[in-house]
Amino acid sequence: MTPAHLVRTLAVAATLCWSPAWAGYTVTAVSNPATVSGAVKYAGTAPKPGQLTITKDEDFCGKKSVYDESLLVSSGGGLANVIVYLDGVTAGKALSTPDAELSNTDCHYIPHVQALAVGTVLHVTNDDPILHNTHGRLPQSDVFNYALPRQGQDIPRKLTRAGLMKVGCDAGHTWMSAYIAVFGHPYYAVTDSNGQFTISDVPPGTYKVIYWHEKLGGKTGSVTVSGGTAAADLTYPAQ
């Protein structure tokens, strides 16, 4: 990712109000809950993920191929790693905060994209026998910057600020990148390898649906629900 690309990405993120704007969210019982699900697709030909160039710790990182995960499209056109959320839900189900993990494995991050709720404890771990330096950052400021010089290290960190974090490795592994979206409400999802997502227990109402993909940027849709199920599909034009 070039600096210009990063700036654009962050600008998109900023326009979509990735900010701690959810401080007012309250937990209530949801009557007549709905499920919003959908498929996010990419209109173009599925690109073949390129192999990333290893420029440091070649002895270890070069042993296995590390692939570019910035645009993953399934054979059916499903687009993976799109963050989808409903904007403007002020009350509803409780936030789900099971522990999560961001692992440094074979010189790339697992998972590449994840969405979590405020209050989640994120375990930053290192499976590799080399130094990783996992640096998570919101557009304005650092969230954490941990050295992981030891294999098997596991650093728990509670996430307290909502927003879209970009994660990189400051140990010279400039090809490593991950995204972590942190929400102050529970109405979000990340599309799976087939582009599918599900957001459940949605209170009745009309909501803006926000989609964000690291390479293809932000899109908005709309959904109206009153119990039952509703579809919120989206197709990104080819680039």
């Binding site: 600096p3 701690p20 401080a23 420029t55 440091k56 080399i130 130094l131 330096n133 996992t134 640096h135 998570g136 950052r137 304005q140 400021s141 650092d142 969230v143 954490f144 910057n145 941990y146 050295a147 992981l148 010089p149 030891r150 290290q153 650093i155 307290t160 600020r161 400051d170 140990a171 010279g172 400039t174």
Partner: protein, 300 residues
């Protein structure tokens, strides 16, 4: 290297200008650090009372007259003098502070900011304000700085990672301690960035960027001018908390033993011994002189 001297020069010039302008007289508790305890401790005002006396309005007045030239009227780091500086003045609206005692990615304590204001950042244009501003004036400045970023209202200071009190009690300096530090420096891969000899020339040194997009200037321990200070615990504090907004990470999870933390600090400082800027300036006329200390001229 040249850029560093530019920053230093500007800093000195800036400080000199301020002295000439006669701004900010040390007031009420300017004697606070004299060291003697003349009054019974209980009779002095509590920390809370001292902070209650500080005022945002006074802080703003001081900021506008003393800080805005570099840090900008709005605190965005775009003051009129900023263009010629390296490193750049901090953008205070981000609420991102490098020199802290708190967890990586969190806000500093008020005492952390007081310390930076008092001592300045050696090697940069940021002067030490202690000779010019009283403790009370600096408290007011801290209160004003807190208004420049929403983070202070939303979060408050982060959990303390390094207790200041624990830094005041270092173990005895022994060759074994330094040897242990050398071992850890390798084991923890400090040399990936800082280089085998601590010269800031490790294999990752030129790949990393600061959050403002500038190239990260990996610290050269042999240079000897430490932004965070060279006192007991200063290096310790830096590798425990990391420096937010730079690639320097927190090693708090990686060095569980207190004695190991001191060992690393002492090893890093040992790289500087007799080789810092002060050394070069002092030795400049006769480069070939041996490193052994000269006999004290008074005794001769």
């Amino acid at each position: 290297m040249k850029q560093r001297y530019t920053g230093l020069g500007l800093g000195l010039t800036g400080a000199a200008c301020l002295v000439l302008a006669g701004t900010g007289h040390a007031q009420d508790d300017a004697w606070g650090d004299f060291g003697g305890n003349f009054a019974a401790a209980e009779s002095g005002p509590s920390a809370e009372a001292l902070w209650a006396r500080a005022s945002v309005a006074e802080g703003q007045r001081l900021y506008e007259s003393l800080c805005s030239g570099c840090h900008g009227v709005n605190g965005d780091g775009q003051g009129v003098a900023a263009a010629s500086m390296y490193p750049k003045p901090r953008d205070l609206t981000l609420g991102e502070y490098r020199f802290r005692t708190t967890l990586t990615g969190t806000l500093p304590t008020r005492d952390d900011v007081m310390r930076t204001l008092a001592l300045g950042l050696p090697g940069t244009a940021m002067p030490a304000w202690k000779p010019l501003l009283s403790d009370q004036q600096r408290r007011s400045l801290v209160l004003y700085l807190e208004t420049l970023s929403d983070r202070f209202e939303q979060e408050g200071p982060g959990p303390v990672e390094v207790e200041v009190a624990s830094l005041a009690d270092p173990p005895e300096l022994t060759p074994e301690l330094i040897d242990r530090g050398k071992e850890l420096y390798k084991e923890l891969k400090c040399l990936d960035c800082h280089g085998e000899d601590g010269r800031g020339d490790g294999p990752s040194a030129h790949t990393e960027k600061n959050s403002d997009g500038s190239e990260a200037d990996v610290f050269d321990f042999t240079y000897g001018v430490y932004k965070g200070g060279i006192g007991s615990g200063d290096v310790y504090r830096t590798f425990m908390t990391g420096l937010d907004g730079t690639p320097m990470p927190s090693f708090s999870d990686s060095i569980p033993e207190e004695s190991d933390r001191w060992a690393i600090e002492r090893y890093c400082q040992s790289l500087t011994r007799d080789r810092g800027l002060g050394f070069y300036l002092a030795q400049r006329p006769t480069w070939e002189r041996p490193l052994a200390p000269e006999p004290d001229p008074v005794e001769e």
